[in-house]
Amino acid sequence: MSISKKPSHDASFVQKYVFSTDHKIIGIQYGLTSLFFLLFGFGLMMIMRWQLAYPGHALPVMGTIFGENNMPGGIMLPEFYNQLGAMHGTIMVFLGVVPLGFGGFGNYLIPLQIGAKDMAFPRLNLLSYWIFFAAGGLMLASFFLPGGPTGNGWTSYPPLSDLAHDGQSIWLVGMFLIIISSLFSSINFIVTIFQLRAPGMTFERLPFFIWAQLVTAFLLLLAFPPLEGAAFMQLMDRLLGTSFFLPSGLDVSGQVLTNISGGGNALLWQHLFWFLGHPEVYVIILPALGIVTEIIANNTRKPISGFNYMRYSVIFLGFLSFIVWSHHMYLTGMGTNVTAFFQTTTMLVSIPSVIIISGLFITLWGGSIRFNSPMLFALAFLPMFGFGGLTGLPLGLATTDIPLHDTYYVIGHFHYVVAPGVIFAIFGGIYYWFPKATGRKMNETLGRLHFWPTLICMNLVFFPMLIQGIAGVNRRLYDGGESYLFMHDVLYWNVIISWAVWVMAVAQIPFIFNFFWSIFQGEKVTSDNPWEATTLEWAAPTPPPHGNFTKKITVYRGPYEYSLEGASKDYSPQFEKDI
């Protein structure tokens, strides 16, 4: 089993780096593209935060570049605020976090961690990336439509979205492409994990990262197609004049719509959307949990406590995530029995979630922890993510959700999960696997300069949102609540939040600099296994060549055998026969 005999240097630059079928190149392409989108989505929010902190004031410096239709005199119009908000949500979720955790980390690491030479379907993989790329381009292009991008929120609820301007159609096509792309990836990942494991790599020996990616792939595979169906319906409503989501006698601005057949149901969209939308939450979270688990095991130099339970929990979580979607719809008048069902399943979800988080916390106990940059981010992930989860409980119970629904409490809650939670895990993952991909470590001092301000700002941004939400400030208000007298007591937070966002942006500069500088100037690693880790990716040369491994890989033990008794060193890699 030597690697491909065909030397790869005769492939052209385009074949090698642009239209490559190598999972590592594709992973890096996914990673860089989605990091760009993450920054872009964050940029949109920085502009919005000016309007929220200083509603009606002209945006300094950049105010005029958005044109008279969006920001006359530098003052943001409500429609433009809605558009930026919708695109922030869409871009962050579908073009930023998910493709980063799944497409980026998944592609790069899955074959390496299971001891395979590539994905099972390399050309499908290539296709998947370029479809994703096209979807991203389309979403960006919608900013240049005469009416601008969609302004219906990332949820695109009808009837509004049925009747909105063209940006919405582009959004639907973009979503369709994103779903196709993730469908291809998920098929590829699942087949790869089942079929291409190296000899000795039994399911018991798969790292948690692989388990997390596997469950994520199943969620993408099964939960996303219904939104494809829903997107077709909404497109037909918009382009062919059908009424899937338009009830009879629909009243728009005081006028009953007469040119439609009616007979549709706006709630149908909500069901189909949230059937995707809730599993989407796990698609966001699970890869992050996988990353954090790898980092924690490595830097506590201990086996993961309760690894077995964590594995079953992640599978159980996957199942449960299909039957909780209507907890996003308590306010739609579903009836008490339905509500009771979804409330129960939602509460059940906390059991596996708590098991996983507890396993990671307990692992820290008595470990000789190495506080390097990856570990700092992983350590911050645990309480931040946990807090995000806890604040979700009141939203899962119908009684408490009713006053909190659609307030900034919801925004605060889920951002704790996705921003200081998932994004931190992703940062940690970048610092952790950077040496494998480039042969150099990222700078530790800059890493700390990135970590601490970001951690503090994250909390200054999102904790006040919980306070505002409990006080009743609604989300999606273009003036931040100024026109509601009862909200005035908590509006001073808006200024604090916004400044924290901008300071946080500055705190990303050390990271961005570190990232590019370290590719060329970072401290060179002297071994293929600089963190003294146990999993298979560290058996590959640095950076791994096409075909990944230069020696035959056999797996001898579980993924987290650290500090074994009687071992010669404090780590016993899966790929070494003698401990």
């Binding site: 469908l183 699942i190 089942f194 494809e228 319906m233 057949s261 189909l272």
Partner: protein, 204 residues
């Protein structure tokens, strides 16, 4: 071909099945794809039920649609499905000529299906029965239209396999046979979807 051969060197289980899963890669892949397709069509069937249950009135479907053509099309599609099995078993028996014959039959029957479907659509349009006229018609056009697109996709893939794609037969017959098996699985699936669509839309 160059890329394929190179791939073959790197990736195992393209031809052989893996012992512990009992599958080769593409077969595993197509099953997953079909699972996702079930979710896609499942969402449409669920929407159909939800919209119909919530409707104040619903047309008598069999008055609206051409039941004889629909029934004929069911027979055509089932026959086509049987042909593709024969195409595959011919390859297993090392009879390439017979494979070609049955694959072409599969394709021709699929084209018949689309023609009849086209006649039905034309009839509706002649009577000004457009999707926007009622939720039932919207569902009908969406569900049968999406299904027809799946048929079309199958036709294109099958034509490829019986023409230039069949060159693989001379270099790696078992790999080629696998591909036909996978195409067959997809084809059965499209067939089964129709078996559900026909009664749901035409009869009930």
């Amino acid at each position: 071909m160059y890329m394929q051969e190179q791939e073959d060197e790197i990736i195992p289980y393209i031809v052989e099945s893996r012992e512990d899963t009992g599958l080769y890669n593409a077969k595993f892949g197509i099953w997953l794809f079909l699972a996702s397709e079930i979710m896609l069509f499942g969402s449409l069937f669920s929407s159909y039920i939800l919209l119909r249950v919530g409707a104040s009135s619903w047309p008598v479907q069999s008055d609206f649609l051409n039941v004889p053509i629909g029934a004929l099309n069911s027979v055509i599609l089932i026959t086509s499905s049987m042909f593709i099995i024969r195409a595959w078993t011919s390859l297993k028996a090392n009879d390439f000529k017979k494979f070609q014959k049955f694959m072409w039959l599969t394709i021709v029957f699929a084209i018949f299906f689309l023609c009849f479907k086209g006649v039905e659509y034309a009839q509706h349009f002649m009577h000004h029965e457009y999707p926007k006229k009622s939720v039932f018609l919207a569902l009908y056009f969406l569900m049968t239209g999406l299904h027809a697109l799946h048929i079309l996709g199958g036709i294109i893939v099958n034509i490829y396999y019986v023409s230039s794609g069949s060159r693989l037969w001379s270099t790696n017959p078992r790999w080629f046979t696998n591909r036909i098996e996978v195409a067959g699985l997809y084809w059965h699936f499209v067939d089964i979807i129709w078996i559900f669509l026909f009664p749901t839309l035409y009869l009930f």
